[in-house]
Symmetry: C2
């Protein structure tokens, strides 16, 4: 049938939960098409999992409850790590690499927090650790950044990279619902965990952004330096005022290269309703990348789920299968740049980041209040783009949109505004980005 | 500086027009970053061009006016074909391949019309012919389809893959302008050629669609079987009625796999205004791909221009440089599937394609006209989704939106409708797609 018959590639799957089952079922259902592409078959040699998964027909598969059996199985070429977490997963991946096996993983926390160590060990052993599924599920954004846009200096990237958060922001925006109300529904629908902290406080997005920024700029993974702010404090009123001004609020991960260093930040962000990214709704993900040659690009797709995430895991398996015999020095480097060529470009402190701001506060409906506030902003070098003032009898909302300014200046201005007797409580601050 | 110092990769550029200059300038401006990625430098050894390009500093480059000098230069590893056209370009590429050189090209017509021959020769010689820049300029859609989504059975793809056409449709849609008026502006802006046939009649899009469909389904390139319809007959009235019904009209290339075969068609298409693709405006391109595992995806970016197209050419050069030493049997196949494994899945005749229709006609404002038309549609198995009827004194427009039906049935229905004495002139037919 083939000109040259290559022997099958043998993989071992560790973890048979959501992503594990998707991976297994794609390898099964699309086996013929995959073999037509790769020129050799990909065989599941062993699965390590605590229990069977009713969605997977594993009757003819060698099952083990000890995932380390898989990492130590001499028959296996590629170990697929889909157990999640960072402790046992780290040990499993390092064991597989130590044994000279290639690894495919969907584990964003593992790569963001232990990637530097894992890639160094993989480099030493001449094996690949592939992680397309770790960022934005089924979207091939790692491949796009590392290979598709490899001729570009990446200027910035901005992504909706947490589906749970985007579902919540979409519902709040389209239906005027409150955060807590939508979160409860997301939990009932299975989009959000019982403890939603990872998703709604931006930690999951920060893991993914850390990875994207490293391969965009060739810097080591620096999760601990990523500024992370969640969406739990966004109110229906913020969303309504933003809409009135022509903006949507999205929870974005943003990385930008400036002369002083790299910005790395996850926070709610006002973007123009006309931006393509503002029209990415529900649990879908999308990443914009601005390259110096290509200009702005966007890649959109499902950011989670068994089959979409499995799509990326299996694409990685195919990539690794194709590169098994390649000279390691010619493979695409783990972090896109040759390991000896990583940059020591600093990650900027948040105080040095510059962007526009949406400020929402409650003030006494009294003459001179707006004048005092604009004076404070002006004193801190901040110019105003627009204002929404509501009339009323007592406390009224006041919304101010500013031009770009350093976070440091805004911190000083907000402290001074909050000290004004006519301003009640704290000033809500949401950053504004012009993604063009 | 490096652990292992690899020798530079030497490329020869043929053609120094728009894309040639972008390619040259990216290789120059981003040389340091590219070397950090690849682990070796990429050197322009020779340029074949009839004249110098004022945007390129070629003072220290070996220039020749005979492009075949480049294809025959024993120093050169990769020949970059950017001369356009299909006659000399075919000869040039075949010469380079015959000489054992890898080729990178941005030439969609060449690949769509002569790709089968070129890839067979390249396969025989063990060299790569890379063509990312041939489809959708800077968007890495070839890589996304061939590698990023390699685990999927592709169900369908639909793209805005001609920037000139999209500029015209956007202007008609946003400003209610007439086709001829916008075309004239597009020519003045340099978006459209003096002879705009290739762009506005869909030939350029059909070249690109032919390529996309081959790598999506693993079928040989079959440009001659691609149904091609342009936008020159779309009126401002069509656009206005479509908008009233909640649709935008876009010029799409669509490929869909059905049990009976593959649909391959380029035509104006009504899509929901809420679809992400409907919000891709101006000269920008975007391609949606629906995979069985990943679900719907979209990739967006600049479809033309020196730097965006150069971005893809240089990304291909980097890919080829990385794969120079790889075993040819393990490289990504030209058409995504192993050459011995291409499918003989038929391309469907247009009569067998099924979709919804928007019909726009002028009728006498008289009782019974609509009843006659709906009767004809019903006789041909066509059900109606919505109708817009205008009142007037004499001839009035009538718009009918139908549910999905085979083109064969619609042809019969339209012939019968046009034969009605109360229907004036021809029935305008625009296909409707629900891209979800």
């Amino acid at each position: 049938m083939w000109g040259i018959v290559l022997k099958p590639v043998k993989v071992g799957i560790c973890g048979l939960g959501t992503v594990g089952s998707g991976t297994f079922n794609i390898l099964r259902h699309n086996a013929e098409e995959i073999t037509r592409r790769v020129g050799r078959s990909i065989v599941v040699e062993q699965i390590g999992a605590r229990q069977v998964n009713p969605t997977c027909d594993t009757t003819d598969i060698d099952m083990t409850s000890d995932i380390f059996d898989v990492a130590n199985n001499p028959e296996i070429d590629i170990v697929i790590e889909l157990i999640g977490g960072t402790t046992v997963a780290r040990e499993l991946v390092l064991t597989a690499v130590e044994n000279g096996k290639h690894v495919v993983t969907a584990n964003k926390a593992l790569i963001a927090e232990h990637g530097n160590e894992i890639f160094a060990k993989a480099q030493e052993k001449g094996v690949m650790v592939a992680f397309e599924a770790a960022v934005a599920g089924g979207i091939p954004i790692i491949k796009t950044l590392r290979e598709g846009l490899s001729s570009n200096k990446i200027e910035w990237l901005a992504g909706i990279i947490n589906g749970t958060g985007n579902f919540i922001m979409t519902e709040m925006s389209e239906k005027g619902r409150a955060f807590a109300d939508v979160l409860k529904e997301a939990q009932e629908l299975g989009y959000a965990e019982a403890d939603p902290t990872f998703d709604v406080e931006g930690i999951d997005a920060a893991h993914k952004l850390t990875i994207l920024a490293s391969i965009a700029y060739g810097i080591p993974l620096q999760f601990e330096k990523t500024y992370t702010e969640g969406i739990s404090r966004i109110t229906a009123q913020d969303v309504a005022f933003a809409r009135e001004l022509g903006y949507s609020i999205k929870h974005l991960g943003i990385a930008r290269r400036t002369k002083a260093g790299v910005e790395l930040r996850v926070h709610p962000t006002l973007i123009s309703q006309k931006a393509l990214l503002a029209n990415v709704n529900g649990v879908m993900n999308a990443v914009m990348v601005k390259g110096d040659a290509v200009g702005p690009t966007l890649t959109y797709g499902a950011g989670a789920g068994a089959m979409p995430t499995g799509s990326s895991v299996v694409a990685d398996i195919i990539d690794v299968a194709r590169t098994l015999t390649a000279d390691p020095t010619n493979r695409v480097p783990h972090l896109a740049f040759q390991p000896e060529q990583l940059s020591d470009l600093d990650v900027l402190a948040m105080e040095d980041v510059e962007c526009g701001f949406f400020l929402n506060m409650m003030v006494q409906d009294r003459a001179g209040v707006l004048a005092n506030i604009t004076q404070i902003l002006s004193n801190n070098g901040i110019s105003i783009e627009s204002v929404i003032q509501r009339e009323g009898s007592d406390l009224v909302p006041l919304v101010v949109m500013t031009h770009d300014v350093k976070e440091r200046n805004m911190n000083a201005a907000i402290a001074a505004i909050e000290a004004l007797p006519d301003v009640a409580g704290t000033v809500q601050r949401i950053r504004v980005e012009n993604l063009a």
